[in-house]
Structures are given as C-alpha cells and as structure tokens.
Amino acid sequence: MAEALLLKPDRRFVEDLVGAGGGDLKKCFQCATCSVVCGLSNGSSPFPRKEMIWAQWGLKDRLVSDPDIWLCHQCNDCSQRCPRGARPGDVLAAVRQKAIEHYAFPSVMGNWVNSVKAVPLMLVLIPALLIAGALLVRGPLEAAVGYVDPHGHEFYAHFFPHWLLIVFYSGLTLLTFGGLIVGLFRFWAGMKANDSALGRGGAVLGFVPSVIKAATAVFTHARFGKCTDQASRKTSHFLAFYGFLALFIVTSWAVVDLYLMPLIGVESLYPFNLMHPMKILANVGGILLIIGAARAILKRMNVPADGKHQSTSFDWIFVWLLLLVGVTGFITEVFRFSVDPEVVSAIHNVAYGFYFVHLVMVFGLLVYLPYSKFAHIWYRTVAMIYAEHTGRTQEGQSLVQVAGTTD
C-alpha cells in the first residue's frame, strides 16, 4: 500500500477547469461507466474515472502529470453514456489545456495564448509589430554587412526576403521550442513523480522501442481510430495532420534548396514551378489542411449547445489558425502565379497584404506552438512514449494491439 498522500484540495483549480469547459465535472459520482465504455482506457487504474474525482478535488499536480489524459482522444463516448451528465470527455480536454498551460515556459504565455481577450494582442499586435520591426531593420542590416540577396528579385522576397524569413521564424520558433523542451522535461518528471507516489511506473520497455511504438500509433492514428463514436473527427484530424506534415516538409526542403544545395553545387530550383514534386506536395498538403481544418470547424459549430463535446477558445483559436494559415497560403500562392513581379502595380500591395496576414497566422501557429492547443502533438506523443515505457498500455491493450484490432 502506498504511503498516505496529503491531499491539497484546490477549489481555484476546480473553477479553472469549469471555466475551461469542464463545467459539469462536479456532477460525477464515480460510477465508472465512463471507464467501462472507453475504448482506449486500460489496466488497473483506468481513465477517465479517476481523473474525474481528482478534478472534483482540484488535485492539479496529479492531473497535469497524468499521462492518461493524453491517451484519451475525446471521442466522448463517456460523455454520451454518463448517467449524471458530467461530460468526462470534455473534462479531460479542459485538463489537457490546463496541463499545457501549467508546463508553459514562460508560464505567462500559457494564459495569454489561449485567451480570446488576448487575441488582438497576441495574434495581431505582437506578430505585426515584430514583422514590421524585422522589415525595418532589414535594409540597415543588409547594408551593414554588404549583403546582396540573390533571391531579392523574386516576388515575395522583394517584400520579405528569404533570409529574414528563415532567421526570423526559425529564431522565434526555436526560442519558444526551448520553452517547450523545458515543459516536456517537467512533464516527464511530473509523470514519474506522480506514478512513484502512487506506487507504479517502473520502466517496462526500452526508450527507443517505446518511441517507435508511440510514433507508429501517431502516424497510423491507430488509437484515435478506436474512438468509433466520432469517426469523422479522426478523418479531419488525419487530413490536417498529413496536410501540415506535407507543408512542413516542403518548407524545410525550401530552406535546403535555397541555401544548402548551392553549397554542394546544385542550383536552386526555388521558387518551384507548379509541376515540381515539392510544389505538388505543398499543394496537396495545403488542400488537406484546409479540408481537415474546415471539417473540424463545421463539426464543432454544429454541436448543439447542450450536446457533448463543447469547444472552448483553446479549441477555436487553434482550428481557425490552421484554416487561416491554409487559406491565406493559397491566396498568397495564387498571387504569385498570377502577378507579374516585374510590372509594379497596386495589386502587388494587395498580394503583400495577404502575405503579411499569412505570415502573422504562421507566427500564431508556429511561434506559439508550445502554449496553444498545437502543443498536444508533443505532450500527447511524450505521454504515449511514457505509457509504452512504463507498461501502462500493457495493463490492458498495447497501442500496437489496438492498432491491429478493429471493431
């Protein structure tokens, strides 16, 4: 028997969860219907039942360091079947938001990035000012080092040069990524501490095999696929996931093509023409991203007010960013192929305007990644690795077993 734990009930955290979409969490009376109907829950200490009472008692430390909250894909089977209307699925979603906010480094970012009230500041003012600032220092900087941009003649590079784009975004993204790494290490340590306090959590599987298993589950969406109640959500996610991945690969390749290939004597093909494989991949990825995000938005908008699976600003800000990144990206691309860069006209300013908006949206998505809902790609993956590593999934079904079964 584990040592008696000193409980520190935290009413403020309960109220935070209520505010983050877990408004019915107090209704739970621990019947465990949720854990029984859950297709993903496992083993000796199944979720979401235990999370529900932790949430009722405001046991923040346990909840934010609980890998199980990330093993849930929120099909809301539990919310449908809950006899008390406590909506465990939505409560876990609120807990995930609070976990991301809890591990946010610096912590103030967690609160600001996800607040509707802070949207004008965080998603308009700050990126706009930073981008504007970057544009202002561009000329003096280039002059100071005597740099002549070989791509400066290209349409958008004329407005916002590639080197600045790369320095600016890579710099800021890597900066916040550092914060993410801090958060993930804390998360890992939190999971270990939590488990050892509860008398569990020894290593069962090596780290590398755990990563492989978890990654397999991520790429196949195998666990998500177990959430049969909302299969269309999996489809949306699948589309957006691979769309984003494609765009990420293309963007990365662009950097390689622009600055690394010339080093080995290969001429840069940038900007790619429409039939370049990378351009095809980019367009396909963009379409997938837009379809996935639009589907997600429509789905969320059509949930009745009293229905299960309610959305919060945490969800809305993220899905809208995804959609807007895709849409503004396409508009930007259309301008590139339809505008003659040599003939300066007012249309150029319109194109630059869209490009600017696109840049702001990308800023919101990438720079804020560790603090927004987007952070789930890391927290969930790390939690899945941890779950494999400590044998948590072995208590019931392993991820691979789940992947191999269909209902």
Binding site: M1, A2, A4, L7, K27, Q30, R84
Partner: protein, 747 residues
Amino acid sequence: MDKNVAVYLCRGCDIGGALDMDALKDVAADEYDIELCREHDCLCGDEGRSLIAQDVTDGVNSVVVAACSQRFMQDAFTFDSVLTTRVNLREQVVWTHEPNDEDTDMMAQDYLRMGIVRAQKANLPDPLQEEVDRTVMVVGGGVTGLTAAQDAAAAGHQVILIEKGDELGGWMKRWAKGIPHKAPYTDPQPVDVGDQIAAVRANEKITVHTGTSIEKISGGPGQFDVTLRGNGAEPIRVGAIVQATGWKPYDPGKLGHLGYGTSPDVITNVQMEEILASGAIVRPSDGQTPKRIAFIQCAGSRDQDHLPYCSGVCCRATIKQAMMVREMAPDSEAYVLYKDIRSPGQYEAFYQRAQEDTGIFFTKADVTGVQNGGKILKVEAEDTLLGGNIQLEADLVVLATGMVPRSADGELIRQYVDAKAVVAKGEGGAQLENAKVTVEELGYLEDAEILNLGYRQGPDLPVFKHGFPDSHFICFPYESRRTGIYPTGCLRAPQDAQSAQEDGSGGALKAIQALEVTARGEAVHPRWGDMSYPEFALQRCTQCKRCTEECPFGTINEDEKGTPQPNLTRCRRCGICMGACPERIISFKDYSPEIVGSMIKAVNIPDEFDEKPRLLGLICENDAYPALDASGLKRLKHSEWIRFVPVRCLGSVNTVWIADALSSGFDGIILIGCKSGDDYQCHFIKGSELMETRSGNVQEKLKQLALEEERVQIVQVPINEFERLPEIVNAFAEEIDDIGLNPFKGF
C-alpha cells in the same frame, strides 16, 4: 344456553365428487347424534347461506361448516349469536389427497369429528364490557408528538401532550434550517415547527404540559390512570398512549478513534447545528472561522462496534450543513468523507445541488483517524475513491453521529429493580451475590424510566435490538408489546422530520383504533375482532407466576403472593398464558385445554393391525396455517396420516395436549409455528420461542414413558416457504414410520 349443533357439508370445489358424503353424514348422525346434517352444492352462495340462516332462525346456535379453510368465506359463515366451526375439507383433504380413497375419507371424517366436538364444547364469547376513556395521551413534544396530538384532536379526541422539557418543538426547534421537504428539494429550508407549536397551543382539544414527566401509569387500554410529576398528584385517565420521545445522538465519547475528545474542534453534527443556528461559523477552540471543514459520515454508524444500522438522515443533514457553511462563509470549503451517500428519492436533487458547488468535495472513504496537530486537524482515511490512503487537513471536523432511540428498556429495568430489592433485603448467599453484580452492572438504569408503567414486567416498553421498542416493526409498524401504547417517530425507527410527522399521524391512528376496538370488547392486532378473552379459575392457582412472566404483552400483574391479576384490555388473546399454565386454569370460551384436548381425542385411531399411523399437527394460525392453505391451493400433496389442529400460537399449546395425543394413540406430533430468533416472525413475539423452551419438558416426559424423542418435533416455517411444508410433513411421516407405531396405541 343449550347447544343445538347442526352440520353442513359443502359439495362444491371438488369436495362432493371426491368424498363419500353419506359416510360423513353417518359420522354426524351415528357418532354424535346430530339431527340436522345438510349437504349443498355451494354453501357459501346465497342459497346455501339462507339454508343455514333458516336453521338458525329455527333454533340452531352452533353450526359446523365442512367446506373450505377457515381463512376463506368468513363473512358468509358468520351468523349473529351463532358459534361457527369450520372443517377444512377442501385445502386439507380433497385438494391434497387421492379422491375416493379410503384414507382420504378417513381423514375427512376425522376432521368432521373434531369440528363437531368443538361445536359441542366451545361457546360463543361474550364481549368484554369495559368503560373506555377516549382521551389520547402523547408523550413527547417534538414534531412527531405535535403531529400525533394534532391528528388525534382532529379526529375528535381529547389530547394530553406531555413534554419533559420546558418548550415544545424538540430538536427541530434548535435547528436553523432543515432539509428540504418540498419541490424542488434543492436547498435547505427554514424550520416551520414554530407554526406547528402555535397551532397545538391554540387547539382547544389539546392540553399541553411542559416541564412534566410521568410518575406512574396503571391500568390498561381504555383506562390508563396517569399520575404526572410536578403537576399535582391528581391522576388523569387516558385511553391510549402515543410515545414520541424521539432520539438522542449516539454518544460521541465512544468515538475517540475519530478524534472526539482530542480537540474541541472535533464536534458532532448536533453541535454543528448549534453553531449554524448561532449565525456565525466559528470553531470552538479559538473562535476563528474555519476555512476547511471535514464532515465524517457514519461516525459510529453502520459499524459493528457501535451502531450497526444506518440512521438514514445524517447524509442529508451533512449536505444541508455543508451548503449552509458555504453560504455563510463563502471562503470555506467542505470535505465530505462518506461510506455511501444515502439521499433517497427526491433527495437525489439535494445531493446533486451540493455536488455542483465547487467548494463542497465528496469522496467515499473509511476514516481511520483524526490527529490533533494543534491548530490543524489531520484526517486520515483509506479505501478512498481518490486512490490509496489519504490525509486531509481541516480546521474543523464534524462527526455525523447517528440517532439512538430515547427509549427505556422496561424489562431490564425490572431486573435491576428486583436485584435492588434482593440487595436491600440482604438475605440469601449466591442469590444475593448475583443481585449485587446485577445492581452494579445495571446501575446506569437508575431513573431511566420514561412511562413508569405499573406493569409486572417492567416500567417501560420492552426493547428489541439497539433499544428500539420491540414490535416486529417491519410487518407491524407502531405496534409495541404493550397494548394501547404506540411508539412512533424516531423512537420507533430513525427518520427525518417529515417522516417523523407522518409517523406521528400513524401512531395517533393506531391509538384511536385501539380505543375504538377496545370499546367494542374486541382484540387489537393481530387477532382483530376476536371477542374471546382468557378466564382464570384462580381458586386452583398455585402462584407459579408462569403466566405473569410469559405473557408477551405484560397483561397480567400479580399481587404479593404471586396470584395473577389480569388486565384484560391489555390482552391480545394469543393464549400463551393458557399454554403456560400447568394447572390448566386459564381458558377462553372457544379455546381451552379441554376443547382442544377433546378434539384431539375425537380422532379415530386405527388399531396397530391396520398399519395406518396417525400424526397430530398443531399448527399456528398466523403464518403456518396460511402456508398450509397456500400449499393446498397449489395441490401439493401431504401425508394422509396427519390430522391438523389450528392453534392461536405455538405458545398457546399446553403440553397436556401432547400427553392426550400420545395416550390416545397418535404416533407422532409435529408443532408448526413461526420463525423465532432475532428476526422473528411470530405474531405474538415469543410464542414459538416459548414452545421451544417447553419442549424440553416434553422430551423429559417422553423419556419417562420410554418413547422416542423424535415423536414430538417443532418446526418453524416462514410463510414464504409454504412449498416446503408438505415435504416437512412427509419427512416427519417417514421418520415416524421408521420408528414404528406408538406402543400405547389401543390402551
């Protein structure tokens, strides 16, 4: 009055086609010289009934109806001033045995013989004519007593309401708010007992005595003479009594393991009510407002070392208190540690409302201790929903203690008083020593009396487990073992104020019922309407005191010599005194050692060469006989050797009947009664238990006669196990067959 017996044989319900009706008629005419013996196809129909009615008009005054069980068609066969004797040819004979068979006919004839003998020997009872006072006395002025008083007054009775304390209203008067009693059942509601007190005070039919207790109650239903203490010595007369003395919290001094006594900040739910009623939530130790209040449910309840039962109200009281705390001190948090939340019916809404409050935290837990850490109390618990053992810090701990009835154990007080008398006398070696020990052990009963009944068996209602007045309360709510005195409210069973008010109504109605039935000279529950009562031939009494001690209802007082002094309105007519009396001086007009003995002897015992054993079944009318009827309705066959005689209660079986049966040649006797023990089903509380005790003497007698002890057996059959009854009888028949015939047969 001369007996004019007529016999009526019904041919309906398969009887006519299965039996030799002429042979039955011959039994009546030849063996008993019955001149009038009629047959009819349907005796209970209008034609059959008018047939009998005509004969009654012509002078018949004792009718033998040989038809169905005595439990059916009672109205059809009741005629004014006529003794009706029922012979069960349907359930016990034709429905359960081979038709047109020699053994079946013999059985029917024996039952008819018994019926005719009863019709000849028994007499129609004269009702008791006693003067009955219709005043209802209510003891206890809480919500239960107030309601009982109001309802009895509304039914037209004068009411005397006695309250020991200085004001009416009981506990509820001291609460700030109560649990909700009306829709939507979500919020604590103001206590409205003040209105009820005013209504009682204003009611002209109700006389209220506060600051008053009872010096003495003598007499019985319809004529209780009550002397009040502190209210003049003039006795008042009342007809029936509702005892609504309520409850007290379980002694928290026994809850040291939950921290009681280790810190002034560990309090009971009753103390918490007082804090809430004071208007400011402050903790006893330092007057600070507690921020964290832990409520420990089932403190000493549902616990084999304390109260094994659930009081049913503490969960709702705690929910109420937690809500009030949150309302009065919004910064406070309430932790509720429960075994189960019991909020039945509409109170689920109340529980849900409390659950919604983010400042009220619930978990199932077994609290293992409360440690005093100076200013902070540490509650330790295991087996929680939170996973594993927990510790919880609190500024105030509230123990939800259960309800204990405010009763007095009349029988135990009697033992104490007797022991004190022996000690005062100071004589007798071992007896004196035992008495000293008893006085020592029962010292806590000094001045414990509430009703101060002048009953030989003790001054208060006998109590059952946990101090609740013994009444077999599941089947017979409000009944007690003192006729005309009805425990109600939390004295009877733990309950909330609203239920207690309903209970008060129930108790008042029972009291009124007792008055009316007594005024008609009839028995109350469970022999409703019975006009017979025991008569004592005291000139032959040997003062053995068995009747005074064994009567479950304290009917019989005794004088100094030990001569019984019956108080007949207390009597329930069970006949246990009759069964107890070794001199057989107690009898009823229609039920006596002689009547039943003669019925037993009327059975035709075939001689030993016929190889037809005969068994006697003495069967309790309350549950066992209905069970036999039920097995008859299902056509479950039983041994054709047995002859059943219904008895009022196994406790009324006088052992002389067993001697009579064995000497007249019966081979075995089976006594079938209700379940005894802690969860007894005996309608007269102790009947089957007493028969068990007496059977020791019977076995002794069997030994003296060199008879096998298996020849006399007692079985207890719960009514729902009626299907087993034929198997029991058949197994007994086989056992007797193995043992062999009674060697006294034919002597």
